[in-house]
Amino acid sequence: MEVISPSGPVWLIFLLPLIAFAVIFLLIKPLNKPKLASFISIIAVLGSLALSTWLLFSLLSSPEHELTVPSLNWLVVGGAINIQFGLILDSLTVVMLMVVTVVSLLVQIYSQGYMRGDPGYHRYFALMSLFTASMLGLVMASDLLVLFVFWELVGLCSYLLIGFWFQRPAAANAAKKAFIVTRFGDLGFLAAILVLFSQTGTLDIAQLHGLAAAGVLGGAVLTWVAIGIFLGAVGKSGQFPLHVWLPDAMEGPTPVSALIHAATMVAAGVFLVARMYPLFEHSPTALLTVATIGGVTAIFAATMAMVMTDIKRVLAYSTISQLGYMMLGLGVGGITIGIFHLFNHAFFKALLFLSAGSVNHATGTFDMRRMGGLKRIMPWTYATFLVASLSIVGIWPLAGFWSKEEILATSLESQPLLFYLALITVFLTAFYMFRIVFLTFGGQYRGDTKPHESSRVMVIPMVVLAVLAVGSGWVNVTGGFDQFLGHGEGHSFAQGFFGALAHPLAWLSQVFAAGGIFLAYAIYSARWLSAERIRRRFFPVYKLLSNKYWFDELYENILVRGILLNRFFAGLKFFDSRGVDGAVNRIADTVVTVGQTSRKVQTGQLQLYGMFIVLGILAIILAMYFTG
C-alpha cells in the first residue's frame, strides 16, 4: 500500500470543520456576526470537499484503490495497549467522504436561508461544523476505538441539534429520547469492542480484518462480536426495534434532519457494518441477522409511513425503511450493494427533507392536511420533490432504481422471503411518497397563511441535489462503482443503461411502484376512493399504524415505567437511600457525636494548652534520649 503524499491535507479533511467549529464558538460568536459564522462553516466544508475530491482522484489512479498515511500514537500503554490514531483511505472511506461533504455543503448553504434570523444562528453553524468534522473522522478512522469516539461525537451533535430549539419541550424530549435509545445500541457496540480487544489485543480495523480472514477470530465469538457491532448500527440507523427515536428527531430544524437524520449519521450504522464487513462475512448467523432486521425494518417502517399526517414524519419512516433496504443489501449482497444505496439515498432523501423544509418555510406547518395546491405557488420545490420521490420509488432511470434493483435481485437469490417483503415495500414506498406529493402539491390550498416560493439560497442547493438524485445512480451503470469498491464486471454505459430493463425483475418492481403511485392518485388526487371510508373500513389496522404499533407505549409504560422505574430503579433507590445514604449518614452522625464530645478538650484556657506543650516537649526529649 503506498503512502499518499503529501499526507497533511488528508488530515485537514476532518480538521477543517473542527477548526471552523472552534473559531465560530470562540471567536465569532462573541462578535455577534451571524453571516460570518455561516461563511466560515461553509468555507471549511468546501475545503473538505475539495480535499476529498483530490483524494478521490488519487485513489482512482492508485491500482489497489487504497492509500495510507503515517498514523499517530494515541494511547500507548507499555506493550499491552497500542491505539493508533490513523486514517483508512480506501474506496469506502472516499465514497462516504464525498457523500458527507457534498450533502453537508448543500445543506449548510440551504440553512443560510432556512435559519435566517434565528437567535441560535451561530450555535447552529458551529454544531453543523462539529458534526461534519465528527462524521468525516468517523468514516476515516482506522482504529475501532477512535471510530467509537467519533461515533459518540456524531451522537452528541445529533442530540444537540435535535434539541436545537430546546425551549420547546417536545424538542428537548426528542433529543433525550434519541440520545438514550441510541445508547442501547452503543452498549452493544462497546461490548463488542471490549470483547474484540480482549480476544485479539488490537483494535486496528485492518488487522481485525486480517484476523477474521485468517480464521483466528471465528466461531461463536465472531458471531457475537458482529452482532454487538450490528446492535450499534441498529441504534444509530434507527432499525427495528430501536427505531423509535428517529421520527421524534424530526423536532430538530429541517436541514438538520436532512443532513444528520437522513443522509449521513443514520447511515453511519450502515457504514459501520460495511467497514467491519469481513467480520460479518465469516459469520452466516450475523449476516442473516443483518438481512432479516433490514428487511423487516423496511416494510415495518413503510407501513407506518402510510398513515402519518406530518410530512417530516412520513419522511422519517421512509428513511428508516430505506436504511432497512441498505441493511438488507449488506446482509444478502455485500458492501457495494448496501453502500451504493446509501450513496444514492443520501442525495434524494436530503433533497426530500430540504423540499419539505421549503414547504414548511412557506406554509409554517408540517401538517399535510393544511397544505395542498402548492404546485403552482412553489414550482421549484414541487419539481425537486417530484424528482426525489420518483428516485426513491425507484423509477427507471433515476438514481434509486439502480441501487434498489441490485438489492432486490440479490435478495431474490439468497433470501426469497425477504425479497417478497422488499417488493411489497416498493409498493408501499410508492404509495406514501405520492400521498405526500398529491396531498401537498395537488388540489387546493387548505392552510390560512400566504405561501410563497423560497429564496434562491434555498432553491439552488435543492436543484443541485435534484441533479444528483437523478444521476448519482449512473456511476454504477457501467459497473464502475462496484469495481471501485470491490470487484465486478464493467460494461459500456448504453449496455448497462438499457440492459437493466431487459431483466424481468426490473419490470416487476416498476409495476409495483406504478401500482403504489396509482393507488395514491386514486385516493388523494382523483378521489375515486375515499380515504375516510378506507380508514373506517380498516379501522383496527389504521389505529395500529397511526399509533406506531404502540412501540412508544410499550417502551415507555412497560419497559421504562413498569420494569425500570418501578422495579429496578425503585430497588436501586431503596438501596441508595437506605444502604448508601444510610451508611453515610451513620458515619456522619458518629463523627458529629465524637466531635461534640471531643471539642470539650478545647477549653479556651491557653495555659492548659501551654502545659500540654511542655509535656509534649518533655516526651520528645525523653524519646530522643532513649532512642539514642
Partner: protein, 162 residues
C-alpha cells in the same frame, strides 16, 4: 573564692526573688521581687565577666521593663485583685518540676566542650567592634532598630483611646 561566694549569694537571691514573683499574692510586691531578680541576674553577669551586659541588664530590665510593668499594674488596678493561681496549679507544678528534673539531668549528662581560657576583661570595646565592625552584626542591629520602631508604633496604636 570571692567569685564563688558571690555566685552562691546571687543564686540564692535570684531564685528566691523568682519564687516570690510567682507566689506572692500582692502584685506590686511581685513586681518589686522581679526587680530584685533582675538585679541578681545582673550580678551573675558580672561573675561571668560580662560587664557591659550587666550594665544594660540594669538599664533595660530594671530601668525600663520593670517600670513599664509597674505602670501597667497601676493602670489596670490589679493590686486590689491580687495574684491567684488558676485551676491547674497542681498539674502545672508537677509539669514544671518534671521539666526541671529532665533539664537538670540533661545538663549533667552532657559533656560540655569546656575550654579553660581566661575570659576577656572590659568587654565593651570588643562588643562594640563585634556589633558594628567589619564582618559583624550590623544587619541584625538595623533589624532590631526597625523592630523597636514597629513595637513603639504598635504599642501606641493598641493603647490609644479611640
Amino acid at each position: 573564692m570571692g567569685l564563688e561566694i558571690a555566685f552562691w549569694v546571687l543564686t540564692v537571691v535570684a531564685v528566691a526573688a523568682a519564687l516570690a514573683v510567682v507566689s506572692l499574692h500582692n502584685i506590686f510586691r511581685a513586681a518589686l521581687a522581679l526587680i530584685l531578680c533582675f538585679l541578681a541576674v545582673a550580678g551573675l553577669f558580672v561573675t561571668l565577666s560580662a560587664d557591659f551586659l550587666a550594665a544594660i541588664q540594669v538599664l533595660i530590665y530594671v530601668g525600663a521593663v520593670a517600670v513599664l510593668i509597674i505602670l501597667a499594674i497601676m493602670l489596670t488596678r490589679e493590686v486590689q485583685r491580687g495574684s491567684f493561681s488558676n485551676r491547674f496549679n497542681a498539674p502545672v507544678l508537677l509539669s514544671a518540676i518534671l521539666f526541671l528534673g529532665v533539664a537538670v539531668f540533661a545538663v549533667m549528662a552532657t559533656s560540655w566542650p569546656v575550654v579553660t581560657l581566661p575570659p576577656l576583661e572590659a568587654t565593651t570595646t570588643a562588643l562594640g567592634s563585634e556589633l558594628f565592625g567589619e564582618g559583624g552584626y550590623i544587619l541584625p542591629v538595623e533589624i532590631s532598630a526597625l523592630l523597636l520602631l514597629v513595637v513603639i508604633i504598635g504599642a501606641i496604636t493598641l493603647v490609644r483611646e479611640k
